[in-house]
């Protein structure tokens, strides 16, 4: 796995062929779902070049962040040409989007469509500001995990377009072989450190105030302690917290063993930025991180591979996956136009391809993912993500993160004499909060 270029930069003959096949199959599918009237046809590619629809005077407003805005330009232009509807892309500060939307939607002044991660869903539904999106047969064209993520209380609320999750990035110069368990990874890391080639056996960015339950979650799930029990359909049952089970207690012990009073592999003073800096400096063979750090690692010229997440127990190491998608406002006065755009246009491979090019995250649309997977990095992240579980979207998660992080921090710092008891206390606290917030 050498000579990796930035994701999406290569357009080989194979990707091109795959793309053409993907586009054709999607075309066939959409055509099946479309009605007969030429104007309302949802097989846009057929009419795209031929005619352009007259302006209808209708326009949609869409909130989007600065990075994704350019990637949507083409599909917006196509929508305008075929349907005569303008889509105004309003660039918003990503951090403010969710709360601004919740506040503004009831006044009728919010956008018709917005882009966001699926874990906003709980809040958006709780505040009654998003409308369900019916994907119908198109749901089959998307990765199953991404559809699950945008489903809340049995309803689908978004058209997913990207999946992101963490993976283990390995500096292939320092550690040439992939390992599967955490013990092996750490042993290898320590060997490299002992040989004087690196300073840290293993890196993961933590928050000095909150640790990082998100990054550490794969280790936790591999010990059999997911946060909530899952229903048969894969959705979370927020009334059943499984965080505090036996596996969780073992995980608590592991954190202490790897922390300040133990082998010092986990260090709460190493923030995400510091971890990245050290990995870029070649000071560690392993870095547990997400695709957002890949471009910098590639740009630095480090030869790396993306490995499956190491297991600390006998269960699979499942990371949280975050799915980005397009939501429709419950208060949109252009619901029909918004549905047409979101369901029939943003689900097209060309829209998802463009979004992949700027974001570098594995696309949720299978056809686009297959194209993107010609890049081994994207392929590896995608395969690890397929094994992942959606980050819970229930509003109760807000309460969970803070306690979870705080306790992990104390464990890593070796402040808890009895890790299992501290973990049990945390679980009890979280249960109390979830009950209180209902």
């Amino acid at each position: 796995m050498t000579g990796i270029t930035t994701p999406g930069a290569r357009l080989t003959r194979r990707t091109f062929t795959l793309g053409a096949v993907g586009a054709l199959s999607a075309l066939a599918l959409t055509a099946c779902g479309g009605s007969g009237t030429p104007a309302a046809s949802s097989s846009p590619a057929a009419t795209a070049a031929a005619t352009s629809a007259p302006a209808t005077g209708t326009s949609l407003t869409m909130w989007v962040d600065a990075e994704r805005s350019p990637a949507l330009k083409n599909i917006v232009a196509k929508f305008k040409a075929e349907k005569g509807i303008d889509v105004k892309l309003v660039v918003k500060d990503f951090a403010a989007v969710r709360d601004d939307f919740i506040t503004q939607a009831p006044t009728g002044k919010g956008p018709d469509v917005l882009v966001g991660p699926h874990d906003w869903l709980g809040k958006l539904v709780q505040n009654g500001v998003v409308a369900p999106v019916q994907l119908g047969d198109k749901a089959k064209d998307f990765a199953e995990s991404s559809i699950k993520a945008v489903t809340y209380d049995g309803q689908t609320y978004a058209v997913p377009y990207a999946i992101e999750n963490v993976a283990l990035i390995r500096n292939t110069k320092l550690a040439p072989e992939a390992k599967t368990t955490l013990d092996e990874v750490l042993a290898e890391g320590k060997k490299v450190v002992a040989a004087g080639d690196a300073k840290f056996p293993f890196l993961v960015g933590l928050d000095p105030k909150q640790a990082d339950p998100y990054h550490l979650y794969p280790l936790q799930t591999s010990m059999g302690a997911p946060v909530f029990a899952q229903n048969a359909d894969g959705s979370y049952d927020a009334s059943q917290l499984t965080l505090g089970n036996e596996g969780g207690k073992k995980f608590a012990q592991l954190l202490t063993d790897l922390g300040d009073k133990g082998s010092k592999v986990l260090n709460s003073n190493i923030t995400g930025d510091i971890a990245k800096e050290k990995f870029l400096a070649g000071e560690s063979p392993y870095f547990l991180t997400g695709p957002w750090n890949v471009p910098d690692i590639a740009a630095k010229g480090i030869k790396f591979a993306v490995d499956p997440l190491p297991t600390a127990g006998d269960k699979p190491a499942q990371p949280f996956i975050g799915v980005n998608g397009f939501f429709i406002s419950a208060k949109s006065t252009n619901a029909l136009a918004a549905n047409e755009f979101v369901v029939n246009y943003l689900s097209q491979p060309e829209a998802q391809d463009e979004l992949f090019k700027v974001g570098g995250r594995p696309p949720a649309l299978t056809a686009s993912f297959e194209k993107a997977a010609s890049d081994p990095v994207v392929k590896a992240f995608g395969e690890i993500g397929a094994n992942g579980v959606p980050m819970p979207a229930v509003p109760a998660m807000d309460a969970v993160w803070a306690d979870w992080g705080g306790t992990e921090l104390n464990l890593i710092k070796g402040k808890e004499a009895d890790p299992a008891a501290a973990w049990t206390k945390m679980a009890a606290n979280i249960e109390k909060k979830i009950a209180g917030s209902k």
Binding site: A31, G34, S35, G36, T37, A39, A40, S41, S42, A53, P54, T56, T58, G84, I85, I102, T103, A105, P106, K123, V125, Q126, N127, G128, V129, P132, V133, Q134, G136, D137, D153, G154, Q155, P208, K209, N267, N269, I270, I274, A330, N334, A335, L336, A337, N339, E340, V343, N344, P395, D398, A399, W401, A402, G406, N429, K432, K433, G436, S437, K438
Partner: protein, 538 residues
């Protein structure tokens, strides 16, 4: 009331923004009249635009207030005389808009449960619950659809997977028809006697079409067809049914009845609550909660105590250091005085939030400059230990705040008459005696109001706390994300917008009012004392 205040300004009164005439010239001079016409014209043009917009969106209360304000402005500036009103009007208007209105609004919010889950009106909540509760029948097919129109009512024409064309409307269950036209994929697109809507017409009637619900059979339990995009429809059944007369939702599968609990939610008898609620008045509950909720009461008292501690100690330390440096650098024979003074005020030139972030990095226990370079690799948890984090916050605020005190003290010192100093020395007073008995009291007369302002500023010094420690380390035993270095304003921010237990604007507004009362009381009391100090000196 959760906006963040800017740096405390020295209380020199600023003249009102817009003045009807040029300095020193009466309103009757040509230039004055011209300026008046232009400024008033601009104001009226803006007002007319705003009024027009308000009238269009039928905001009649705001329209009335704006109209009255505009008329009042015109009356004030067009009549002769009444000069004080002409100077005061802009200031008063801005005060009303940016202070009084905000306070009234905060007070209103404090008496509601506005926040996550109680975001809008009851109608919105009911609509939203109905929307979410309408679920597609599992494994039902998707139907290629055309929307037809006849006598102003809309109909859905669908083609079943078997190739059969069916038509139905809101009052007319789906029945088989013979299509007159079909599309390229074989789906029915038209029926004799009905008009088929093209996409542009669909758009014009979006609301009617997306809310159109066509029963698929005479039995309503079988579900109904709906379309979201005008080209595809699905069969839906409602999971919950709303009964407008009883004002209840009923679960169609289990029969559970959810009724309005009077607190902005639909609740079943076993306590389960529907996801979406709405905003209602809750009276004094938010204030009560702040002092009785075991989750909030303990932390709130600790936070209040620390807020006072932080504000008082910040003023005391910055004033002490600022005054000391001012006196030191006030020596007439000191060389390079200007250079030192410029160095002194440097911290004041950085934005506080930036300094907060920089210091947060410097104080990192393992990689921070302080521990690493200055203390030889000691692992002192500057920001994560409950006591040390308080010390760190105070130290950083001292670094940020002393230049201001240095500036005002230098100014005040230079305005003290030299002869008092001399007379005291002639009477045999030592330097310390001169300072404590003469200089300090004289300084305090002019500086006391600034110290009070500084207290009020530090009482709400959001930047330093939020950027340096984020309020952490967190308290144990509370579900709120509140910690040892949180002051009231950061706590209000976290409750209003932060993570933890969801946004709660009602509670946050109640706490903001509490802050207002405390700051107002402390300021009133101090100004009274200052008055006494002034009287003493005269």
């Amino acid at each position: 009331m959760v906006e963040i205040e800017e740096k405390p300004e020295v209380s020199t009164a600023r003249p009102g923004g817009r003045k009807p005439s040029k300095n020193g010239r009466g309103p009757d001079s040509l230039g004055g009249i011209l300026a008046k016409i232009i400024l008033l014209g601009i104001t009226d043009a803006v007002a007319a635009f705003v009024l027009f917009q308000l009238a269009l969106s039928a905001e009649w209360l705001v329209f009335g207030i704006s109209l009255l304000t505009t008329l009042a402005i015109n009356w004030i500036y067009l009549r002769r005389g009444g000069l004080p009103a002409k100077y005061l009007a802009p200031g008063v208007i801005f005060l009303m808009v940016f202070q009084v209105f905000v306070m009234i609004f905060s007070t209103y919010i404090a008496f509601t449960n506005y926040g996550d889950g109680h975001n809008s009106s009851k109608e919105d909540a009911i609509a939203s619950i109905q929307l979410s509760a309408s679920e597609r029948v599992p494994d039902s097919p998707q139907f290629p659809t055309s929307v037809l129109e006849k006598n102003g009512s809309y109909f859905l024409l669908v083609t079943t997977p078997e190739g059969e064309a069916k038509l139905g409307g809101a009052e007319e269950p789906l029945h088989t028809v013979t299509p007159s036209t079909t599309g390229p994929t074989g789906a029915a697109t038209g029926v004799e006697g009905y008009g088929t809507l093209d996409f542009a017409t669909l758009l014009q009637h979006q609301a009617e079409i997306t809310s159109l619900s066509v029963p698929i059979s005479a039995n309503p339990e079988d579900g109904s067809l709906k379309t979201a995009d005008g080209s595809t429809s699905y069969v839906y059944t409602p999971k919950l049914k709303y009964d407008a007369n009883a004002d209840t939702f009923t679960d169609t599968a289990t029969g559970t009845v959810y009724s309005d609990d009077g607190r902005g939610s639909f609740v079943a008898s076993d306590g389960t609550r529907l996801n979406t609620g709405w905003k209602v008045n809750v009276g004094l509950e938010n204030f009560e909660r702040a002092f009785t909720d075991p989750n909030l009461q303990g932390p709130l008292l600790k936070v209040i105590a620390w807020t006072f501690g932080f504000a008082i100690l910040s003023v005391a330390t910055t004033f002490a250091l600022g005054l000391f440096l001012a006196i030191t650098f006030n020596k007439a024979d000191l060389k390079g005085k200007k250079f030192y003074r410029i160095l002194m005020i440097l911290p004041y030139a950085f934005p506080a939030f930036l300094s907060g972030l920089v210091w947060s990095g410097l104080l990192n226990p393992e990689f921070g400059f302080i521990n690493n370079a200055l203390l030889g690799g000691a692992q002192i948890p500057w920001l994560t230990d409950p006591v040390l984090s308080k010390v760190s916050v105070l130290m950083v605020n001292l670094w940020l705040g002393y230049p201001y005190m240095f500036l005002v003290c230098t100014g005040a010192l230079q305005s003290l008459p030299e002869d008092v100093d001399e007379a005291a020395r002639m009477d045999g007073a030592g330097a310390w005696k001169i300072f404590t008995a003469i200089k300090l009291p004289l300084l305090l007369v002019s500086l006391a109001p600034l110290l009070i302002a500084s207290f009020a500023f530090n009482f709400n010094n959001f930047n330093v706390i939020f950027m340096l420690t984020g309020g952490g380390p967190r308290f144990d035993g509370t579900t709120f994300d509140i910690g040892s270095t949180d002051i009231l304003i950061t706590m209000v921010y976290k409750i209003a917008f932060g993570t933890g237990t969801g946004r709660d604007y009602g509670l946050a507004s109640a706490l903001a009012i509490l802050i207002f009362i405390i700051v107002a009381a402390v300021s009133a009391l101090s100004f009274k004392k200052t008055k006494a100090l002034e009287d003493l000196n005269q």
